[in-house]
Symmetry: C2
Subunit: 115 residues, 2 copies
Amino acid sequence: MTLPDPPYYAVVFGSQRSPADAPGYAAAADRMVELAAQQPGYLGAISSRGADGFGITVSYWASEADIARWRADAEHTLAREQGRAHWYTQYTLQVARVERAYDWAAPPAQPADGD
Amino acid sequence: MTLPDPPYYAVVFGSQRSPADAPGYAAAADRMVELAAQQPGYLGAISSRGADGFGITVSYWASEADIARWRADAEHTLAREQGRAHWYTQYTLQVARVERAYDWAAPPAQPADGD
């Protein structure tokens, strides 16, 4: 994922999975990633979920209008309703304007002299 | 965690753990949570890490000045240096202004009639 220089927008979604319907949830989550990536203004996303069932997904968008359009998407709306009915016990969501960004990666390992 | 009404600030930290030094990392991560919670302007945090070693922590702050002060904290700075030297293979960080926030929780289960 390569993000542009700020400003851009982030949607921070923190969710607690219920124990219910792991296959249905996994299929819908994969489909939402696929569908989000096709939306105008989608810049990328990061996601993790721990063994306790708590997960965070942060998706990045060019504008608030792009986020509103994705929120209104019919298939996304249906998935959100299924999420509340079956897959989540609670969630939090914030829409935020990214002001500054940094990234870091370890330098490639160098062979020692003589290797 | 109870957050105030927006605006407030979020620091989104996405990181890939190296396989190195699990006990040292865990101790430092616990200490940073404890130390962050003592900082002025700290509002709370959410965190998850998956089995692949990729994790996301989002911490919430009242102002950008509070984030800058926490970034400059000596013990935090040392932990960040250890993180780059030992614990992470890459990370991304964004500072973002939260414009809107929502949360949802499943209603408590109701006993069926006659139970």
